[in-house]
Amino acid sequence: MLRKLLIAVAMVAGAAQPLFAADAASDPKGEFKAFRDYFTNRFPKVALDDFVNGPYSMDEGLRKQWKAIDEFPPYDFAIDKGKEMFATPFKNGKSYGDCFPNKGIGVRQDYPQFDAKSGQVITLDMALNNCREANGEKPFDYTKDDMAALTAYMAFTSRGKPMNIKIPDDPRALAAYTNGKRYFYTRRGQLNFSCASCHVQNPGNHIRTEVLAPALGIMNAMPIYRSAWGGMGTTSRRLRTCNSQVRGVPLPGESEEYRDVEYYLSYMANGLPISGPGTRP
């Protein structure tokens, strides 16, 4: 019975979509323009650069509370911790800065990157753990604490810089982009939601109790201090929470799907300013 019901739900959902020539082939440039047009047409009053502020760009009452909290935001402790970690050498004398261009300062907007050598998408979080392992240190947990502090500091030094994601002329890069896009639009979990169900079709609307953030620029605010967590979380933590919220079992932090969806969404946000670290309800 359940099965029939769900299939029925899925069919209805499918039929309700506009029937474009449905194929999985990717045209990043065309999709970039369509994605941007969709959000700017739907929210003509929201300034383009304001989309990176997520639900606060959609709701006046929330925005006021955000401004009050942002006067002295709770992620300040994470920025300071990350800065200290950045300044502290590994046992071999090297440090995080040695793994990045410009010593890691003001480079957040260039991630994720497609890495031709490994043939996969490397996010900032993954680059940090790769850096640790290359220097004989153990990798950090991908969801919070140390990793969130490091990425908070790196985002802070990159604030205002426009997102700058490249899809090199390499079929594997395009495949990663397409995989991210697939993950973003695929319904999952018992509630039968895709990322897009919330963040494309319903930004600004309430779901249960939250005001949904627009997908445009959603990665620019990472990592975030989320009141519901009572602490900092990385992109992986946020994606894991999204999965659980639709009653799906989350994937491990920085899974290929998570990295690819970050690649897709960050490319869609090209040109929009880095606003992380952010606060969210």
Binding site: I69, E71, F72, P74, D76, F77, D80, K81, E84, G230
Partner: protein, 103 residues
């Protein structure tokens, strides 16, 4: 260990605006951990702000103050370069203090 206290104190004319953020769990005593055990109340009781030997502001906080608590107030009589001392003590007897320069 890094200080638990962040202070921004800015003198403008006669008044000095003070904002402080303190790293503290502020456990209410009503929340259960992942094993279903109640996390005992652990919160800051008192925060004191002192300028030139005079207490200029006192916070008395209960468990309903948010995690990593924040407070903003203004007082008169200080000038740029003065010290502002901030100290807190919690219900477990832990404490910290810090001296900030008024900017």
């Amino acid at each position: 260990m890094a200080s638990t206290i962040r202070v921004r104190a800015i003198a403008s004319g006669d008044a000095t605006q003070v904002q402080a953020l303190i790293s503290h769990p502020m456990d209410s005593g009503f929340v259960k951990d992942s094993k279903g055990q109640l996390i005992p109340a652990h919160h800051i009781d008192v925060v004191e702000f002192e300028h030139n030997g005079k207490v200029v502001f006192t916070c008395l906080w209960g468990p309903a103050v948010s995690k990593d608590p924040y407070v903003k107030f203004s007082f008169k009589g200080a000038k740029k370069g003065d010290d502002l001392k901030v100290s807190w003590v919690d219900n477990k007897g832990q404490s910290d203090s810090s001296v900030a320069k008024i900017g």
